[in-house]
């Protein structure tokens, strides 16, 4: 009864109320449909319900009528059962799998390149040993050099021998007289054909190795023996026991073009930078000087660019870094035993490593970031360091006396060392050479036939 009053008044306006027709009145308005099962039908929408029951079936295709939840359910179902009119296709050729660069247990696609390089097999022993009799066991000399034409020059006593690395043949270049000898330094010119020989009597001879003849003798530069040589194009720099360093232009008659004064004792280490702009010199006075060509000389006596006094022993080992400009590595002698790194531009010491043994020579690896040092007492070893971490990568032993002289092949793979134990050893420490040498293997005495000349 109350329901009737709930109806909007507009419905009742046009109707007179008859007591008996009360029920009929209510029935006219569908919202007033009451029965004992559902007392209150106001919440029901009969129009819609009727529609859904009769025509609702066809309305399934009409998405507007379907409730959102029903639609989502239908979609989910279709997707799960693939009843949609959909085909799922994938490309037949799969994309390439990424190569793993980070460490993982699965070794199937492990990138071998990086690991192969770090695990380069460094032979612990020399690949070849040659006899080097009468090699002068003097720390301050530089008796070994490997030229760009792949010919190695070694000074044994008063003679200079050339060993052709491509075929292993030996030849004698010159034997000098006893009065002017022994030979105190050898150095190949950049062209690999001309060679400079420094002598005990302070002279320097210039030879053409191809024609096997002497070209000239440089005299009057030093007062005592010439223990170190370095080439810079046509300039031959000579370092003497008198502490003087002289730049000689070998093309002109009066060859002395510049004098560097600064060392108080013998100049045993002499190296031009790869750019040819700076010269590093190490002396028995424990001092390293860096000279710069761009510093103009007024009276041909030039002031040094830097004077580095950190070492406490003679500095013979000097090496310019091939991959980082202005980086110089130096090694100190028996009382110092350190390898120091310098910024040649500013003169500051970047790093200092105690090696525990006299450093006789230093060589940079041209292909990798590595440094090789040769030592004396007690191990007489060659140590390969990783740069810049200075982690020891390898220690090569074999020499029985201090490894005074070290040089590397033009291809940068092999290192040759000579020591007072009168052996010349070859080490494949910088990598395997691409071309195998046709020379006979491990011939302990290839110098034998030359030896008999004496």
């Amino acid at each position: 009864m109350d329901a009737g009053s709930l109806n909007s008044s507009s419905n009742l306006k046009g109707q007179s109320r008859y007591p008996l027709q009360e029920q009929l009145l209510q029935r006219r308005n569908s919202k007033e449909n009451l029965d004992r099962f559902i007392p209150n039908r106001s919440a029901m929408d009969f129009d819609y319900a009727h529609f859904m029951l009769t025509e609702g079936m066809e309305g399934k295709e009409n998405p507007a009528v379907i409730s959102p939840s029903r639609e989502a359910y239908r979609k989910q179902l279709a997707e799960a059962l693939n009843m949609n009119r959909t085909r799922i296709l994938a490309f037949k050729d799969k994309p390439p799998t990424p190569v793993e660069l980070f460490p993982h247990q699965h070794s199937s696609s492990f990138n071998p390149v990086k690991s192969a390089k770090s695990r380069r097999n460094i032979p612990q022993t020399s690949e070849r040993t040659l006899d080097a009799p009468d090699l002068v066991d003097d720390f301050y000399l530089n008796l070994l050099d490997w030229g760009s034409s792949n010919v190695l020059a070694i000074a044994l006593g008063n003679s200079v021998y050339l060993w052709d690395a491509s075929n292993g043949s030996t030849s004698e270049l010159v034997t000098i007289d006893d009065e002017i000898g022994p030979v105190t330094s050898v150095n190949w010119a950049p062209d690999g054909r001309h060679i400079a020989i420094g002598l005990n009597n302070s002279e320097v001879q210039l030879w053409d190795s191809a024609a096997n003849r002497q070209l000239r003798t440089l005299r009057g530069c030093h007062r005592s023996r010439v223990g170190s040589l370095a080439w810079n194009n046509h300039i031959l720099t000579t370092g003497g026991m008198d502490g003087q360093i002289i730049n000689n232009d070998v093309r002109i008659r009066s060859h002395i073009v510049e004098t560097y004064r600064g060392h108080q004792q013998e100049v045993c280490g002499l190296k031009w930078s790869p750019s040819g702009q700076q010269l590093a010199s190490g002396g028995n006075d424990n001092v390293i000087h860096i000279w710069d060509r761009s510093v103009a000389s007024s009276n041909s006596v030039t002031q040094w660019l830097h004077r580095l006094e950190d070492h406490t022993s003679a500095v013979k080992a000097l090496a310019w870094c091939p991959f980082q400009s202005n980086l110089l590595a130096s090694g100190g002698g028996g009382g110092d035993r350190t390898i120091k790194f310098w910024n040649a531009h500013t003169g500051s010491c970047l790093n200092s490593i105690d090696t525990g043994s006299q450093v006789c020579a230093l060589l940079w690896n041209k292909n990798e970031r590595e440094l090789l040092s040769s030592h004396g007492f007690t191990q007489n070893q060659l140590t390969l360091w990783k740069y810049p971490s200075m982690v020891k990568m390898a220690e090569l032993t074999g020499h029985t006396s201090r490894v005074l002289f070290m040089t590397q092949s033009p291809d940068g793979c092999t290192v040759a060392t000579a020591a007072g134990d009168e052996t010349l050893r070859f080490w494949n420490v910088f990598g395997a050479p691409e071309v195998s040498k046709p020379a006979p293997k491990a011939n302990p005495e290839p110098f034998s036939h030359v030896n008999r000349i004496r």
């Binding site: 085909r87 296709l89 490309f91 050729d93 799969k94 990424p98 993982h104």
Partner: protein, 208 residues
């Protein structure tokens, strides 16, 4: 493709298909870079959509994506493509870790009658740019892919499509109980592309 009118450009079915497939190429590259499927060094920067987009240099991946795009273009022009899904799976177990779902709604009238629509190119670029930005920023909430992964692309097409011989039928590669994030969509008035990424529920996080 478009004639420069005052504000809106005319977009044909072919043009729209090109936009969508090009979008997919760049989006796929971006996903591969951001999710670390391929090493970062193998990607190079190019300018696209006004953003620095990264494209892979790996020849295998490049040819895969370009072949894919050619086919997608074809399907888009025919109005048969419903969605493209880029799936990232673990290399070791083959389990699906991520699903990048690009649903495509095609205006069938255009396909049937060959009419063209009008929409500003810039507007479309802006919309695509928004999606690209979202893909790049997705790494903030997507779980880390610690293990090496591989990817694959699925195309949902109409059933009446002839399967080209370089494609095979595949399963849907769904993720069980995925977390889903809906990204922006873009509309060329002919094709409307919705982006959704679903990823494996990270068990470490508390389920809410």
């Amino acid at each position: 493709m478009v004639s420069r009118t005052v504000a809106k450009d005319i977009i044909t079915l072919r043009g729209s298909a090109a936009i969508v497939s090009e979008f997919f190429g760049y989006a796929a590259n971006s996903i591969l870079y951001n999710r670390g499927v391929y090493p970062e060094e193998s990607f190079v920067k190019v300018k696209k959509y006004g953003l620095p987009m990264l494209l892979t240099q790996d020849d295998g991946v490049k040819s895969f994506i370009s072949n894919l795009n050619a086919q997608l273009s074809e399907w888009l022009e025919a109005g048969k493509l419903q969605r493209v899904v880029l799936v990232i799976m673990s290399k070791a177990t083959g389990e699906v870790l991520e699903r990048w779902n690009f649903s495509i709604e095609t205006d069938n009238e255009v396909v049937e009658k060959g009419v063209s629509r009008e929409k500003s190119d810039k507007e479309i670029m802006r919309e695509i740019q928004a999606i690209m930005r979202q893909i790049a920023s997705s790494i903030t909430y997507l779980p880390c892919l610690d293990e090496p992964c591989v990817f694959d692309v699925l195309a949902y097409t109409d059933k009446d499509v002839a399967v080209p011989f370089t494609w095979i039928e595949s399963d849907a590669k769904l993720i069980a109980n995925p977390q889903m994030v809906k990204l922006h969509s873009f509309d060329t008035k002919i094709h409307k592309v919705d982006t959704l990424v679903s990823y494996k529920n990270d068990d470490e996080w508390e389920e809410q």
